[in-house]
Subunit: 227 residues, 2 copies
Amino acid sequence: MSAGRTARERARAEVTREIKDEARRQLATDGAGLSLRAVARSLGMVSSALYRYFPSRDDLLTALIIDAYDALGDAVEKADPGGAPIERWRAVCAAARGWALAHRHEYALIYGSPIPGYQAPQDTVGPAARVPLVLIDIAHAADVPDSPLPDVLREQVVGVLATLPIAPPPGAGARVLIAWTQVFGMISFELFGQLVGSADPADAFFGYAVDRMAAIIGLPGAEWPTP
Amino acid sequence: MSAGRTARERARAEVTREIKDEARRQLATDGAGLSLRAVARSLGMVSSALYRYFPSRDDLLTALIIDAYDALGDAVEKADPGGAPIERWRAVCAAARGWALAHRHEYALIYGSPIPGYQAPQDTVGPAARVPLVLIDIAHAADVPDSPLPDVLREQVVGVLATLPIAPPPGAGARVLIAWTQVFGMISFELFGQLVGSADPADAFFGYAVDRMAAIIGLPGAEWPTP
DNA sequence: TCGCTGTCAAGAGCACTGCTCTCGAATTTG
DNA sequence: CAAATTCGAGAGCAGTGCTCTTGACAGCGA
């Protein structure tokens, strides 16, 4: 990004990037067990030197998590074609699943079980909100109707929507919330092996469910078949 | 269960149980970082002695995973009141969430991201199938109608249903699959902190979504409101 | 240009981990 | 009773995250 002025700063940014890249690489190959020493070794430096760039293993993890949220956000936003809401919905869901399948360990980092001794800092909520934001924008653009909600849920949804620049009706927000948890529930099930023996590979099931969710949200063009 | 005949066998079963209990306890308190040495230390034995009972850390993990699946299965089956399908559905979903909230680390063990170097053996699929089996039984008992499916998905669903003693129509099976991934997607989101700032606490949202899913499955008494 | 200051890589070391091996002691079996 | 099996304890290996100290280098003002 911004080329630091002094040579030191540029070198520092470069090394920081190399560390994260190597950590990502090890995450992808050696399973999810991220070892500081292994990363340092593979970079030709000694482990203690790495602490100049990341004060602890958790900080490296946090950096990777934020990068992962942003990468997923980028992929989803780039895949949004605009235009017909139902097409946007399908494209965005497929992009989310595609990114998850291509970066399963990074996906596990952000949507899997929390790391043992790790507590996600506040810095992650911004990047984490990018995907749901796109989903809400689709519902908003489709001018989807309201629907009755239990009071407690209605208050919670209204509270969240109040922080956004766009404001679909609360019922639509709740239905998007259902669709959102559905989509990522399916992706997690597929990636974490819960679907082996049933709907695995899950392409057909995913597409089918995505269309059902479009109907739940109320996107025009998505009709619920017969029953 | 079966009291082994010899004193040795009884002692062995006893110690094995104590190890698993202590491991569960540490899982619940110290986060998810399970340490063989810590378990052994807390039991007043030396770490190497533990290997007489579990040949590796992964085997201990496997035992805990199977136990967790069975505990969840027990909780869900016990909560099934029989009678009206919609009531069964609500009770079973609430029981699954209740168990997950009360045993979050054990839940993470079975529905979270896979353990780094760990590969789940075949022994887990039986206990893992207990919950979805109950869900399918509810749809079957409700005599829920079929619905059109894409060919690939239809084949996969038919393949799974063929292995079961009961056989609801394929469309119903697919809709149960949606509901299943939805329910556990929500539980995972709630437990893994993805819902903080939106629908957390998730009681209201969970109940709302469970009723929506009942409507999708087609359980009588569950109507989709207005839109 | 010299010298100061802050940054960096390297190494040793601590406490911890999973796991293996060996060695006596206890217990079950023949 | 003797032989065979099982078990707990201890030492030890290779690995981990992390801290501290040491010495080298770069950038700055004088």
